[in-house]
Symmetry: C2
Subunit: 674 residues, 2 copies
């Protein structure tokens, strides 16, 4: 335990006071990297997935990449505009879940929540997997160990997040900005070299031949539409993470909603610029990708089939920087790698907040609502980490495989949420007639924006479902259904327990008429004597000591001691034909109960308190077994009389050392509020 | 748990009442197979080990086998005679441990106990390993899985022994007698065929050439003495198990001592006859063995080195029966196999009794003294099984390897015990002067016998130590030392705890002057109300309810409810800047304690009692944590107020089903003795 505590303190840091929550609020310049790194980082893999899908049509497919990019950018515009309405209308951080619950029904809220929970897990899995893929370009030794490496990275991220939000923010800002600047520089410098300096920049794969699927190579008819839909769906991965800001509004500085909306707009603009920049540069330099799951392949200039491939960003960085400014190449790769790991952090911010809200509403175990040592929702963080680790291990951290499960959840919640926002404005317009004309015009304007959002995201959702279902989206849908059923079951359980526990009859307040005190005895020593003295101090109506006659010699000796010590309470001996303590004792208590149904029975159990784990093997645990059994008997009060052996001081000291106030400020005291 | 209980009942059988103990006493005809199967079964491997050791001297070594046999028989005679004195003088079943403790010192008793405990474990390991070796002759598929097979056999034996002594006795009698009769028949029929019918019986290995170690082949000088000493030491394995009867005296029918002494004499006679019969027959038919660990090897008639070998009993059975009465061969092998597994049973009878005696005296955890479901010392049985399973897995069930660790412990306890018996008679002769002349003559006679025993076993112990130490006996000695140190440490711990707990000052009986009752509240519902009503019923001097202010909204709501319900006890709100419950609450209690050091604090903790394991995830375990911490604070009485949720009925039902009385006789009731 000592080691564990020390390790925990190094990894997690000191505990924080409740009032320190205010200090962890984020300015825009920090909130952007914290909440937007997911959306921004997806430009590191969205272009790859677009080109990989287009490769099924052979070399001519790649020409469509920037058109797909424009389509994705359009959807991004719609989504960002829609969510700017949401952060103004619902600044509490409930996001889509709150919107759907308030405006549609709790059931829809739960659908959104299930979708988001699953997608948060996928965000972590996809981002970290892509980060490992990029890292491989620099550390070839990782090849073959992607799953394990990704799991280790997730574990490290988990520890960082358990440290709390603010430190994460500062910590993550630098690499996020570095990534943005690097991509911008790369695109600008690449374009400059091509179009201004006239360099003939060719990607390493520019001269390779792509062999696609004959079904798509014609680029006509249904096959063409199907391929474009698939490509577009994969490209929409760039849109995930937008909702993270709407869930993170409470972490923004005042004015929270305005700051969040501004950050959202910045995020949209930056993400789209970067995506388009990369796609156009890839197009110009002739980057070629192929589907490593086998639907297409590359043939190099010697006629050999290519086995491995470098990511689009990696190829571009090599093309643009390697001969002109070598450090630029390394900076670009390192930044990409780090931003992807940090993107997972968005989920580490969003998932626990959502989990906590769901726990508060009774859809998840209540302990997820408890704040942990570092003001972070530790239980949620750990749950998310476990889910993501399972995913990267199961899919061996393959981005192309994981991306098929991704996005569908996000667009389900986008669509449901936009429907909810439409209702929200409609209701406001109908019910709140006191609002001025200007205000009402603003509401109508918002409703139009969310209407466009609903149509846009709804169409995209249908495209995604149609094009991705058999490729893996069904797995995500199954996971969402499981989460949904689990949450409704938990809610039902809590409701039934609450009903059961509700004060509803005068008998709940009936006072037991008399108290029968029973002291469990096995020997006559200090613990027993303490139990006797404590029992006497409570002045029960009846008081007796009982010993279960397991060994006649022991019983005989005790009876003698009892007389010697002149103890003035009766000692009852309970026969035990099976030489066990629990059942005869339980029977005795049950008899007292049934003979005096209106009385209370208080059982005093002397217990040894030891300090070392091994001491438990040496001392009888009968007391624990008896206590466990007595718990199931109504009308029985179980009073433990602990006797602290000297060795117990060790444990007490250990607890004192871990007292949070001692960590921070040894002189601090707590004053009761009342 | 349901399945576990059902499986347990099938394997272990119904529970037995204490008074049924009398019924499990054994008549001689049953006691012999139960307690003597170890000594009898060793004739299945002792000849093998004698011949294997002699093979180091080449073919000429085998001629010495029957001379070694006579030496072993002589030692057997001495040991049996000595132990007949012991069972008369100490009929309580403490055996060597009791003799050494009473006559020498508790330290010597503990030395004996350590030696015996280790040797019991080795008995199980060696017997079962040899049994598996014999089984292999019939089931070649076991080859290569000896360790695992042996472990499974031990597990089965464990289950049988957990069923209780009597059933084991009846169950084990048939195969033991079958083995004795089979060996006798084999020897008699073999001798008859050779010397009466004039058949030329040759063992399968009779024509093979033995290649020994050049060091020994001369059979002269020091090498000869060393080899004979090693052979003799291995042969002494036939002597283990004799002391089992002296530990098992209480299981015999009246007159216990006389019956035990008679059984001991029978055992000695039968074992020696069988050993000599096998050795002579092996000599006559030319059985050859070699050391599979590499110190000697066999070359067959084609000049090939032999890889595997059949046990001596296996070879003899084939030679004598295979051509004349084939079923005889199979019966002999099966009986040998079974008797060896059953031999392990001797240890399963002896070890738990010894462990229980040691536990009673405070050298082992007290729970080893508790009788289990089936009147058997379940904990001891399980401990023995675990030790033996570890051994067979570590040594891959190789008898030749395990035999090196064996025997040394038995002869340590033989020697110490004989010394003790010498002292016993001397003391009797010195102190009890009232005894008649006849009686005193008997005592003197006994002293002479034990004197011979002391010299005999002491010499054998020296031979064993000298010849086996580097071959493995040192491991056994280390194990004994570890057991010895462990037992003295446990004794010291118990003694120090007992001193600590002793009633020795009037303050132990001081009555707390007042009772401060504190009710832990987190919500206002039936469990809380029950806690309030129970607390009121105990009529404490002061009564307050406390809530830790983790969430201000919840606290606010509770305050309102408190007023609504019109509860007439004060509700104190405790600030919690770190949003945790335990520490602020502990501090509050500590403050009450330090302000009123002569008073008692009674903390009432409402607890939910649930029936399903998964419900624990859904309900806060704060109560458990608080209770654990309060245990370390003196002067605090911890009163759990259990509230049984409806689901808890499941658990209650399950317990009722397992109540031992219901198993046996549903109508039985228990009447207190006093």
């Amino acid at each position: 335990m000592k080691v564990f505590q020390a390790v925990k303190r190094v990894l997690i840091g000191r505990k924080l006071e409740s009032s320190a929550l205010g200090e962890t609020l984020l300015p825009k310049r920090i909130a952007l990297p914290v909440f937007a790194s997911d959306a921004l980082s997806s430009v590191a893999y969205a272009p790859d997935e677009i080109l990989i899908t287009l490769s099924l049509a052979g070399a001519s497919g790649f020409a469509f990449s920037w058109k797909i990019g424009i389509a994705v950018a359009l959807v991004m515009l719609i989504v960002v505009m829609s969510y700017r309405q949401t952060v103004h209308a619902y600044p509490s951080g409930g996001g889509d879940y709150e919107v759907a619950t308030a405006n549609l029904s709790p059931r829809f809220g739960l659908v959104v929540a299930s979708a988001l929970l699953v997608d948060y897990v996928l965000t972590v899995a996809v981002s970290v997997s892509s980060g490992v893929q990029n890292a491989e370009a620099m550390i070839p030794g990782l090849a073959g160990h992607e799953g394990l490496t990704a799991a280790v990275v997730i574990a490290i991220l988990t520890a960082m997040n358990l440290r709390g939000v603010r430190e994460s923010g500062t910590f993550f800002a630098v690499p996020t900005y570095a990534f943005m600047i690097s991509v911008m520089c790369m695109v600008v410098w690449g374009m400059t070299r091509i179009f201004v300096l006239g360099d003939n920049l060719r990607a390493p794969t520019a001269n390779f031949t792509v062999v696609g699927d004959p079904k798509y190579t014609g680029l006509v008819g249904v096959a063409f539409v199907v391929l474009m839909a698939r490509t577009f769906s994969s490209g929409c991965a760039a849109l995930t993470g937008v909702e993270a800001i709407s869930n993170g509004v409470p972490s923004f500085r005042q004015p929270k909603s305005k700051n969040a909306a501004t950050t959202l707009a910045m995020l949209g603009g930056i993400a789209v610029s970067m995506l388009m920049g990369i796609l156009v540069l890839a197009n110009v330099t002739g980057v070629k990708m192929f589907d490593m799951t086998g639907e297409s392949h590359l043939v190099d200039t010697h006629g050999h089939v290519v086995k491995d491939q470098v990511t689009v960003v990696g190829q571009l960085a090599r093309t643009v920087f390697y001969d002109s400014f070598k450090p630029g190449f390394y900076i670009m790769i390192v930044c990409t790698m780090i931003i992807l790991f940090l993107a997972a952090n968005t989920a580490f911010n969003g998932f626990p907040v959502l989990g906590s809200i769901l726990a508060r509403d009774g859809f998840l175990p209540r302990r997820l609502h408890a704040r942990g040592d570092r003001l972070a929702y530790s239980n949620g963080i750990v749950t998310l980490a476990i889910g993501a680790i399972i995913l990267v291990l199961a899919f061996n951290a393959s981005v192309t495989a994981l991306i098929q499960l991704y996005v569908v959840g996000v667009f389900i919640s986008f669509t449901v949420s936009q429907t909810g926002m439409m209702r929200h404005w409609t209701r406001l317009l109908r019910t709140d007639t006191s609002a001025g004309v200007k205000q009402r015009r603003r509401w109508k304007h918002s409703r139009i924006i969310n209407g466009i959002g609903l149509v846009g995201t709804g169409v995209v959702l249908l495209i995604i479902l149609a094009s991705k279902f058999i490729h893996g989206a069904y797995l995500a849908l199954i996971a969402m259904a499981v989460v949904y059923v689990l949450m409704t079951s938990i809610k039902k359980h809590y409701a039934s327990v609450a009903r059961e526990l509700e004060l509803n009859s005068p008998s709940d307040r009936a006072l037991p008429s008399r108290v029968h005190a029973v002291i469990m005895i096995s020997d006559l020593n200090k613990p027993t004597m303490r139990a006797i003295q404590f029992a006497k101090a409570t002045v029960p109506t009846f008081l007796e000591a009982v010993i279960v006659d397991v060994d006649p010699d022991v019983t005989e000796r005790l009876l003698e001691r009892w007389d010697e010590e002149d103890i003035d309470i009766p000692l009852k001996i309970i026969a035990s034909p099976y030489r066990e303590v629990t059942n005869p004792l339980i029977d005795h208590i049950r008899r007292i109960r049934s003979e005096n149904p209106r009385d209370m029975v208080e059982v005093f159990i002397p217990e040894y308190v030891v300090g070392h784990w091994w001491e438990h093997f040496l001392h009888n645990q009968t007391a624990l077994v008896v206590r466990a059994r007595l718990h199931f008997m109504p009308g029985v009060l179980i009073s433990s009389v602990p006797y602290q052996l000297r060795s117990s001081a060790i444990r007490e000291k250990r607890w004192k050392r871990n007292d949070p106030r001692l960590w921070r400020d040894p002189g601090a005291t707590i004053a009761p509020r009342h």
